[in-house]
C-alpha cells in the first residue's frame, strides 16, 4: 500500500538524525545574509561614502578654484543623503514577525518606493552634476577673468561670425542642452539597468511571491 505524505513526514522525523540542529558559534557577531540587512548595510555604507566624498570634493573644489562645482555637488548630494536616510529608516521598521503577506507587501512596497524615488533623483542628479562641471569651469578664474569668457573671446577671434546668445556661442548652448536632455532621458534607464543587474533576481522573486499570495487572497 502506498504511504501517505503525512505518514512519510511523521515517520521520517521520528528518526533520531532528522532534526539535529547545526552548531552555531558566536551567532550575534555573525554578519547577517538577510536581504533587508544587506540593503540596510549597503545604504548605510553608501550614505557615509557620499557624505565623505561631498565634503572632500567641496574642499578640493575651493583649493583648485572651482567652488561653484563643489557647492552644487555638495548641495545635490546632501539632498540625496537626506532622502535616502528617510528611506533607510522606513526599511528598518519592517517587522519580520508579521504574517508573510504583510511582511512581503511592506518589503515590496519599500523596494518600489526606493526605486521610484532614486530613479527620479537620477533624472536630476546626472544633469545637475554635468551642469555643475560646466558652471565650475566657466566661472573658474583665469588670470583676472572667467575661464568661460576667455574661451568665448578665443572662439570669437577664430570664428568672428559665430552666433551668440547672452554672450555665449549658440552652438555651445545647444550642445550643452542636448547633453542635459540626453542625461535626463537616459539616467532613469541607466539607474534601472544598473539596479536590475544587481537586484534583478530579488525583484523578480518578490513579484512571483506577491502574485502567488495575491492569488491566494482572491
Amino acid at each position: 500500500m502506498e504511504r501517505s505524505i503525512e505518514n512519510i513526514w511523521k515517520e521520517g522525523f521520528l528518526k533520531s538524525d532528522a532534526l539535529i540542529a547545526p552548531k552555531i558559534n558566536d551567532l550575534y557577531a555573525q554578519k547577517s545574509i538577510h536581504i533587508i540587512d544587506k540593503f540596510t548595510r549597503m545604504f548605510r555604507i553608501n550614505l557615509k561614502a557620499i557624505v565623505v566624498f561631498s565634503f572632500v570634493f567641496l574642499l578640493i573644489s575651493y583649493l583648485v578654484g572651482i567652488p561653484i562645482m563643489g557647492i552644487i555637488f555638495f548641495v545635490t548630494l546632501m539632498v540625496l543623503v537626506v532622502i535616502n536616510r528617510s528611506l533607510l529608516k522606513s526599511l528598518e521598521t519592517i517587522d519580520k514577525g508579521e504574517n508573510s503577506y504583510e511582511y512581503l507587501k511592506k518589503f515590496n512596497h519599500w523596494i518600489n518606493k526606493q526605486v521610484e524615488i532614486n530613479k527620479r533623483i537620477a533624472m536630476f542628479l546626472y544633469p545637475i552634476s554635468f551642469m555643475s562641471i560646466i558652471l565650475g569651469l566657466w566661472f573658474k578664474d583665469a588670470e583676472g577673468m572667467f575661464l568661460g569668457e576667455r574661451l568665448v573671446n578665443k572662439i570669437m577671434i577664430q570664428f568672428p561670425e559665430i552666433d551668440l546668445l547672452f554672450g555665449i556661442p549658440t552652438l555651445g548652448i545647444a550642445i550643452v542642452l542636448l547633453i542635459l536632455g540626453l542625461l535626463a532621458f537616459f539616467s532613469g534607464r541607466i539607474y534601472m539597468w544598473d539596479l536590475n543587474l544587481v537586484y534583478g533576481r530579488v525583484f523578480n522573486k518578490m513579484k512571483e511571491l506577491m502574485s502567488d499570495l495575491e492569488t491566494l487572497n482572491n
Binding site: 515517520e11 545574509i33 538577510h34 533587508i36 508573510s100 533576481r201 499570495l213 482572491n218
Partner: protein, 163 residues
C-alpha cells in the same frame, strides 16, 4: 545572543526551523547558513514579539519570512536563489536524511513554488487551515483547496518512488 535565550527560546523550536530551512536550501552549507540566519533574526526581532500569538507561531513566521527573502551567494560566486524554476537535485553529502522516503518527499517539496512549500510544510506540521492562513496572511477559505492541489502534485512527483 545569550546561551540562555538560545536554549530556552530557540532550541525547543529548532525542529520547526530545521524543517523549514531544509525545504528552501539545496546543500548542507546553505542549510546551516539559513538556520543561523533564522536564529539571528529571531534574536534581533524578539522585542517585537507581542504575545498576540504563540511563540511557536511567531517562530514559524520569522523562519518562513527569512527563508522567503534570503539571498545567498554561493562560494563559487554565482548568485543563487532557490527557485521553483530550478529543479532540485539533492545529491549532497549530509544534507540528506537517513530516511530515504523523507528525502524523496523533500525533493518533491522543493520542486513546488515557494509559497506552496510554506503551505505544505505548515500543513504537515498539523497546523489548522486557519493557523496556516494566519501565518502566511492569506484568505483562510483558499488554503484547503490549495493544500489538496499541492498534495496531488506531490503524489504525482512521488508516484512509484515510494512504496
Amino acid at each position: 545572543m545569550s546561551q540562555d535565550f538560545y536554549n530556552t527560546s530557540i532550541t525547543p523550536f529548532s525542529g520547526i526551523i530545521i524543517k523549514l530551512c531544509r525545504a528552501y536550501t539545496s546543500s548542507q552549507e546553505d542549510f546551516e547558513d539559513y538556520y543561523q540566519e533564522v536564529c539571528l533574526q529571531i534574536w534581533r526581532s524578539k522585542d517585537n514579539f507581542r504575545a498576540e500569538s504563540e511563540w511557536s507561531t511567531w517562530v514559524y513566521r520569522i523562519s518562513l519570512n527569512v527563508c522567503l527573502t534570503l539571498l545567498k551567494k554561493k562560494k563559487n560566486n554565482t548568485q543563487h536563489f532557490v527557485s521553483d524554476s530550478m529543479p532540485y537535485l539533492d545529491t549532497v553529502d549530509n544534507h540528506a536524511f537517513s530516511d530515504e522516503s523523507l528525502n524523496l518527499l523533500y525533493d518533491a517539496i522543493r520542486q513546488l513554488s515557494e509559497i506552496d512549500r510554506a503551505i505544505i510544510m505548515l500543513y504537515l506540521e498539523e497546523k489548522s487551515y486557519k493557523e496556516i492562513a494566519d501565518i502566511i496572511g492569506t484568505n483562510y477559505n483558499n488554503i484547503g483547496v490549495r493544500v489538496q492541489r499541492i498534495k496531488s502534485r506531490l503524489k504525482k512527483l512521488l508516484d512509484g518512488k515510494i512504496n
